[in-house]
């Protein structure tokens, strides 16, 4: 409960009028969902730091061309693997490309890789979790066994196999990570649906003849939203790390794409002579992952009262 779904309120009110509602408080929370969450979130200092870093990363991604005078792909053999200096703040790589520039442009890739596959796996997982949890029976069994199978794979290995089959392109990274990631979401959503569908407001909706699909989408789904927000925020760093690992193993992003994982990989060769090439992009991965983790933890704490069912 706790979402301001007007229909849900109408139905609960109708129940109350019929004398079936025992507690006045269960109709709606005293203040708005969004306001409560924002207030609780802002109280968490680390979560605010995480949000600030994520905002900066988004700005870096959007304004990358204006933030640097260099081209991320332009090769300049005069300045190969140069140490950090005033003209190249983080030094240059083996092709004389400005490292900071490549990392700035890499922000775009990392954010897209973090968000798109996570969103995809959330959509697949939520749909299957809703269907399985709501209808139960054989449908549920099939979906849950499929989840068990996908979750049995070491996720990096499964993603590697998918990339091997599909070929190493950006779109295929989305597919591989979504194919690996949906099962966890499906399980969480299903367990939420199982408890939600026993609630009075669902029963009331069913009693007045609301169609199953409408009940799932308009009444149950909004109540899964708190859990989904947390899963989404915590899924992003996982996807970013997975892409970096795939790229490191050669089945992810391909050169000359300025993917952070790929830059670290190329720096591996120069660990002795030019350690900054490997170290700097890794630091960006670390900070990004930490920031999203902080945000996810913040959301989890802020949304906690809404997730107890």
């Amino acid at each position: 409960m706790g979402m301001n779904d007007p229909k849900e309120q109408d139905l609960t009110l109708a129940c109350c009028a019929a004398g079936t509602c025992e507690e006045e408080e269960s109709i709606a929370p005293p203040s708005s969902f969004l306001k409560d969450v924002v207030i609780a979130y802002r109280r968490n200092r680390l979560a605010m730091v995480g949000a600030a870093i994520v905002l900066i990363l988004f700005l870096m991604a959007v304004f990358a061309p204006w933030l640097t005078p260099y081209d991320p792909y332009a090769i300049d053999l005069e300045v190969m693997t140069e140490a950090p200096s005033w003209s190249h703040w983080l030094g240059t790589d083996q092709f004389g490309r400005d490292l900071l520039t490549r990392i700035l442009y890499g922000t775009r890739i990392s954010l897209v890789i973090g968000i798109v596959p996570t969103l995809l796996s959330m959509i697949i997982g939520t749909t299957l979790g809703l269907i399985g949890g709501y209808y139960g029976g054989k449908t549920d069994m099939v979906i849950m066994r499929l989840c068990d199978i996908v979750l049995a794979f070491p996720s990096l290995l499964l993603a590697m196999v998918v990339m091997y089959t599909l070929g190493a392109t950006l779109v295929n990274i989305f597919i591989a990570l979504a194919a690996v990631g949906w099962a966890g979401t499906a399980r969480v959503v299903r367990s939420q649906v199982l408890s939600l569908k026993e609630k009075e407001f669902v029963e009331a909706a069913r009693a007045v003849g609301v169609k199953n699909r409408v009940i799932m989408v308009r009444h149950i789904l909004p109540n899964c939203l708190p859990a989904l927000i947390v899963l989404f925020t915590l899924g992003i760093p996982g996807a970013i790390l997975s892409e970096a690992s795939l790229s490191f193993l050669g089945v992810g992003a391909q050169p000359p794409t300025p993917s952070w994982g790929l830059i670290v990989t190329s720096g591996k060769e120069f660990l002795f002579s030019a350690p900054w090439v490997a170290i700097a992009p890794g630091l960006f991965i670390l900070v990004t992952v930490l920031a999203f983790n902080f945000m996810g933890d913040g959301f989890r704490d802020a949304l906690d009262p809404y997730m107890k069912q």
């Binding site: 066994r145 049995a152 970096a244 690992s245 490191f248 193993l249 994982g261 670290v264 490997a278 991965i285």
Partner: protein
């Protein structure tokens, strides 16, 4: 108890079959002729056709799947395209290396994680607590290959304490074990801390304190045993995860294990080898989860009754 184990075993079988289906169909729909790949030179069309027939590559996928399954059950995972050796023997030769690495990583995770978790719980919000929890957060937020490179840079290149890569004596296993075990150690520390803090809120702990026991006997004599229950389960699951998750660590440190076989097989587009390695590692994970469930049932009498 026996009934529980049997039931749990029976659930694992369809999962394992599902895993073989997914691996087989993912890897056998891949475009590109393995025969042409095996014979690097230009070869005539009828030679290709003959070899294809020999390898039964023209049979329908479903027939080939059942042949693969029947072979896997006998322990025959086919022959590597590139190395011309049975996949099973390649994997079994590499497995001891993976096992040694995973074992040391697990030991590191336990020896560091559990005491760190206990200390963090006992001295909640103290400097060591914040420090341990910070390190644990770092462990799960760092890309493994990057922390591996950092270790190599600091301890092998700069300080020259340890060899950069390879797998000869005990000195070679230190860095990879720490890199691989770090995130597991962090997870164990966090779990131990939260579990111990929860147990410490119980009434029987208050009773123990009320009868005048000092804090140390309360923790080690009463609280710890119960709080380690979830930790032990996670430890069992982690061992399987470490065995299967050493892909990157093995690649960076040049350890000839099963994970490195999988990576090499991808680079060489050696399908049977990749198929065998992935099936082997996934089976390990399934067995690990099974062991964890059974272990938990042994440790927690409430499960046995259910």
């Amino acid at each position: 108890m026996l009934k529980f184990i049997l039931k749990r075993l029976l659930i694992s079988i369809p999962i394992l079959i599902g895993v073989t289906v997914i691996i087989f169909f993912l890897l056998n729909v891949v475009p590109g002729d393995p025969v042409a790949l095996m014979m690097k030179e230009h070869i005539s069309v009828d030679v290709v056709a003959r070899v294809r027939a020999q390898m039964h590559l023209d049979d329908p996928a479903i027939v080939r799947y059942f042949r693969f399954l029947a072979g896997a059950l006998r322990g025959d995972l086919g022959e590597s395209y590139k190395l011309n050796r049975p996949v099973t023997s390649l994997i079994l030769n590499a497995f001891p290396n993976t096992f040694v690495l995973a074992l040391w990583a697990a030991l590191f995770a336990w020896v560091v994680g559990i005491p760190a978790g206990i200390l963090s719980a006992v001295k909640k919000y103290s400097l060591p607590d914040n420090l341990f929890m910070g390190f644990s957060l770092l462990g799960v937020s760092m890309p493994v290959f990057w922390s591996a490179l950092l270790f190599q840079y600091v301890f092998a290149v700069k300080l020259r304490w340890l060899p950069v890569a390879g797998f000869e004596d005990w000195r070679y296993v230190i860095m990879p074990a720490i890199v691989l075990g770090w995130s597991s150690a962090g997870i164990i520390a966090r779990l131990t801390r939260s579990s111990l803090l929860e147990v410490m809120r119980n009434d029987y702990i208050r009773t123990a304190r009320a009868k005048g026991l000092h804090e140390l006997p309360v923790i080690f004599g009463h609280a710890l045993k119960n709080s380690l229950l979830p930790v032990v389960t996670v430890m069992a699951i982690q061992v399987a995860g470490l065995l299967a998750g050493a892909v990157i660590t093995e690649s960076v440190f040049g350890i000839p294990g099963v994970g490195r076989i999988a990576v090499n097989a991808i680079q060489a587009r050696d399908m049977p080898l990749l198929q065998g390695a992935v099936l082997f590692e996934t089976t390990l994970v399934i067995l690990g989860n099974l062991a964890a469930d059974i272990l938990y049932a042994f440790l927690d009498p409430r499960i046995k009754a259910a």
